[in-house]
Subunit: 206 residues, 8 copies
């Protein structure tokens, strides 16, 4: 991993034992730095809970973190639309924190219920980088992007059915956002958004 | 055409002379009822302006109307997002009016500028049917649908570029709207939305 | 939920215990109003049957309703094509009824057997809003829309195989309907069609 | 060309002079047999009209035929939906006739106006092979296929806009037809349908 | 079912008991005519084997036939490419036979081994209708169609991986066949091809 | 426009006279701030050159800027792959500069010629935000993203043919980048990338 | 350019004057080596014909070659299907020759006329590398690949209409070829196939 | 199989017993030549390990080889990007070796870590044919192709999620590679790439 960035283990397609082994090895090599594992299955989380008691596990985010977190610099605000978007939002939160940013979170602010979004409006402007997570039509980044000039990363999720085509509708919606200055990552890629947002927020830390 | 509904000429793929001829024939058959022509080219509009002085031409909507309009019943409100969506919104307006509804219009209320939408919020609830026209990410129907319980028809437009894929992004966005009770018509189909909305509004006329 | 509209629980991705808990909480808050739950798994239906004896369960529609239904106003007619479309049609029926409309249903009137459709022709015109449910080529709304001027909402279903692409063929067919005034909802979205149709029918109640 | 089948020139991408030259050469080689040219541009049709006075030109079908037609055997009935489908229907008519079948035609029998179709119902059963041409949602073959057991070839046309995606919606609709025994050719491929139908009809000639 | 055509039960999505019940009922109503059931699961085939000993079961075709077959008229030849295409080819065979045609079959004649195809060349011309079944690139109908002028129905199968996209590559290949007079049915739709081919072959019976 | 951000005119679909008029009006309202116009046609550029001599025109970027530029804060580095990507890269440059960032540019560093990229490696780390512009396979952001930890926005261009599908291949490539922390904007959306990068760079200015 | 490989100018998107200038400059730098220009417009070919009399122009291939050709090593055989595929086949021929291979060509050997292909069968085995060019269903590489074990590169062309989707059908067909050892390049990419085939053939030269 | 090429069993869709039986039969027929089986399930590998002790099993490649390998001629170098691409890379290795080429392998040289690739740069030029295996954005072939003039076959893998669409993003990326002379096979088709590369390498053996 790039100097300063944590080591990251991509859990998909790895056995519980493999993830456990890699986490241990990486932690021993740099005991003073956090190691992050993502996309963990239930079985892996269970094994880590038993055999790696020092790891901080988040079953919603499907992540594990081992070793001390870096000092938080800057502020990432993670905004998400529906309860089904929670796992992706949680992956953003953990990733950004492990990559050195301070992180706050606002949930359940769908575009069809503007009052909840308008209620947190001030917090949008106070962030150094926004990450907006939404599935279905993926409209939330456009609305948020119209309310603030803070750099905004949009994460489409695979939440939806039928013509959502596994997150494609949300992805296309975000790419075509009429709010200027919205950038987008892959469907369900909370990890990528978290890395990016942490980099932006750390640099803007004042 | 169904009893009570006006005759409609679909101008696409017809020569100016053909449109002129059909309009004349239909008008002579039912001089007491409006005839509507849609999707007119510039050349057709010009010819009609010269040879059919009684026709009401709308070069933005690309429509012509010949004969007396029916008494307006009920109220359709047409809401559109950007200036590029104007032709489709205008097609809705003319179509719904010719099909017997009263029609009002609000333009330029994109989701990235919520204040303009919130400013007309009261008018949303007063309508009998809403038609919401938007291109790009097509997010406007979700936001409007979250503000009111009036039946809402969404019209995706082909406005956009790149990954808008000729209106596909807006279409998918509207089909996946998280606001309950949003229905959708084909890309740029202001005509279809106008017919539908007029039927709903006329029936709800009180 | 919007004033007057019922609370709705979207069962997909929720555990049986979660659905049970939310239904109970919402019912206690408004014992005088129906609560609707959709997209229930077999396990959830079973649990509700045991622990919530007052709930009305429909295993075909995969819905549960708790609390008194509103007085029916207006008439929604739900027309469906094949037996495989039954679950979606049933979701429309329950949703529209819970949202305050009177509902009737006609099943098994595919376009390849016109006589059955023509036999119920009179009932089409008597409805305040039609909902037409069909999979495969999704042609039924065009045929029904040619027989009546009642507002018509089309619901494509994911019934089919091969080039039906999970309901995409039916969806595109309905969006391109040559019958004027047909609007469309997402694939398998009986809920959305039911909400919309109830709103239209209630408003047209005479 | 297969023994007995006529020679065919595919005019797309060929200059007027090239088409003229090939037609002349093929005709000289077999003066007793028809040669067919398809997909002719306006310029080619004009040149042929001037320099090949014996050729029978059909500007709607965009075809030219040179040399004597074969004795008609069997009966192909070509049914089409809207006026915009006329060019493709005409290509079927000319092709099937040149390939040795008797051909009849019924136009303007869209699914949204069933009465016109029901009025010609008897003629459907009298044909040896049906070719059904339709754009937009492509529903006509399902309805016709439900009325008769005669072999039916469906031709999707590129007529439509927006989500018709150049005829894709009609193509998918026809491939998913719920009427048994419907086969399909490429979008706008009146030629292929005509060849196939002529082969079937000639073989069924009694 | 249309007069003369057998009753057909589509097994997909029905329980074993449902299929058994429908087969029994239909057979009792017309004991002198075959009933066909398609797309049977292993469990349904097993139940039918036990409780309906008179049914003829084909586990490869996933079909069951109950009652006497009609006299065969005309000849359908079913040609398939690879061993994985066998289930679809077998569905064609059973369907065409039950619908009154004589049926023969040639297997394993892929385009990458022309000698096997050329070895059966004579049999192609002797058929009244050809059905050509192939997955992957779906090239077989073009090659067969170049060898004979007999009406040819192509059936794409979902055999393949990666960019075969569940049969889409084969479907597109067949729709674009450069051999004139090839028609196509839905992916894996051996039933539809069988019905169509039987109709053609019966009519050409001499 | 958001406080501090410049007014922007989207030239696509506007007549030369309309663009001229809007630029003048906006400039008069805020003579102390730059106004930006993008997507200008040749005709519009020509008219502005004649009637608005104070505007700075960039025919490659298809932009016009009127009024004084803001003081540059932070550093945006725009890296592009091929000469055909120049218009999009130039749109990024102008947009970011008008939105208050300092901008530098490196051109012609395609992935198939790594030496040119490695030669500018040091400049990558010195930037506050990178914008990487590439068409065809869109691989450049992955390679650049592997060389530096600076926030990186990728812009796919519609450069390419055949299976590039108007920039779709590049878009998908960038969304799937294996380099962590790459975000993406719409195809050819140099404007969006420029706004975003300027916001990041201004915030990181030290 | 890689040592030994010629310089190549991609003509698409360049003015005639630009192409002329680049060709001259490159030729002056290496007068002993061929320079290749591809994708030339008619206007560019005309200008080169006038101002660069030493250039060898091929208006079908849309190429120009300036400077002496390298000694041919090995043998590339270019096989194409229909007359419309000629430009792409010609681009392969010129490119492979300029890149140092001997090149032969066989045209008009579509899969629907096997006799023509079987007549040249011996020449297939004598080649060091085959390039097979075909549009529409793209079946030719499968048939050729079944006849020989020589390395085979397939080039899909955009020839076709309707569901050929600009060459997509041919591309998918070739990627799914059931003949082992077929590789594929982009739609219409005769240049890429020529470079690759020349590299293979030069290395196999005996 | 073509003379000299080994027999190959495609294990997908075959039972363990079937694969075992075919392997035995083919081996008995040609005991002096290797037989290859690919796409083996875990159950098949297990059965072969027990009942066919002479077979060489590779559980990563999911292959089995029975009988003596041919003398290696020429050199294929297989380069792969990430650890998840290992199964496809291993299938290439085994296939090319069984088809008579010498094979070497380099793993874990993703484009986001150029140093690892640059470290093996010399080995690229020493190969007779390169096979480059990569998922996600599929950028590796472009970078490798820019470093060497050796014939290069690219294999996209289905590794990735979201907008990788099962390997489509990698496939499109490789087809649009800006490095000249890159050819591509189907997603996950290590077998096809191995056959092709062995043919090229054997012919270039010096
Ligand atoms: N959730 C995720 N989505 C995408 N990429 C990830 C994710 N988690 C980790 N990665 C990437 O995967 C790499 C590690 O892959 P591996 O060596 O297979 O564990 C890390 O360096 C990250 O760049
Ligand atoms: N803008 C439009 N979009 C879609 N359909 C339309 C439009 N305008 C008219 N139509 C339909 O076209 C029919 C008339 O078609 P035609 O007879 O070809 O003029 C009308 O009955 C309408 O149903
Ligand atoms: N079958 C359904 N399809 C689509 N949306 C639904 C469905 N059922 C409920 N919903 C929506 O989901 C919301 C409740 O979501 P939740 O809070 O996750 O239970 C409701 O307000 C509805 O708008
Ligand atoms: N309209 C058409 N659509 C598709 N194929 C056609 C059409 N007209 C002719 N063809 C085919 O094109 C072949 C002649 O092509 P060509 O030699 O290029 O003129 C004929 O043998 C037909 O198979
Ligand atoms: Mg959402
Ligand atoms: Mg818009
Ligand atoms: Mg149906
Ligand atoms: Mg039609
Ligand atoms: Mg096959
Ligand atoms: Mg590029
Ligand atoms: Mg071809
Ligand atoms: Mg990879």
């Amino acid at each position: 991993a790039r100097t300063g960035d944590p080591e990251v283990v991509y859990g998909a397609g790895k056995t519980p034992a493999q993830v456990l082994g890699i986490l241990r090895t990486l932690h021993e090599r740099h005991p003073d730095r956090a190691v992050l594992a993502t996309r963990l299955t239930g079985a892996t989380t269970e094994l880590l809970g038993r055999d790696l008691p020092d790891a901080v596990l988040d079953p919603v985010a499907r992540t594990a973190v081992l070793g001390p977190l870096p000092e938080p610099r800057g502020r990432v605000l993670v905004v998400s639309a529906g309860t089904s978007d929670a796992p992706v939002a949680a992956e953003v939160v953990t990733t950004a924190r492990v990559h050195g940013a301070g992180v706050e979170q606002v949930e359940d602010v769908g575009v069809a219920g503007l009052h909840r979004l308008l209620a947190v409006r001030d917090r949008l402007d106070e962030a150094d980088c926004l990450v907006v997570v939404a599935g279905m039509e993926g409209a939330l980044p456009s609305v948020v992007g119209g309310l603030t000039g803070v750099p905004l990363v949009a994460v489409p999720t695979s939440v939806g059915y039928g013509a959502s085509f596994g997150g494609l509708a949300a992805l296309l919606g975000m790419l075509n956002s009429c709010a200027p200055g919205v950038t987008v990552v892959n469907i369900d890629n909370g990890y990528g958004a978290g890395v990016f947002a942490a980099r932006v927020a750390r640099g803007r830390d004042r």
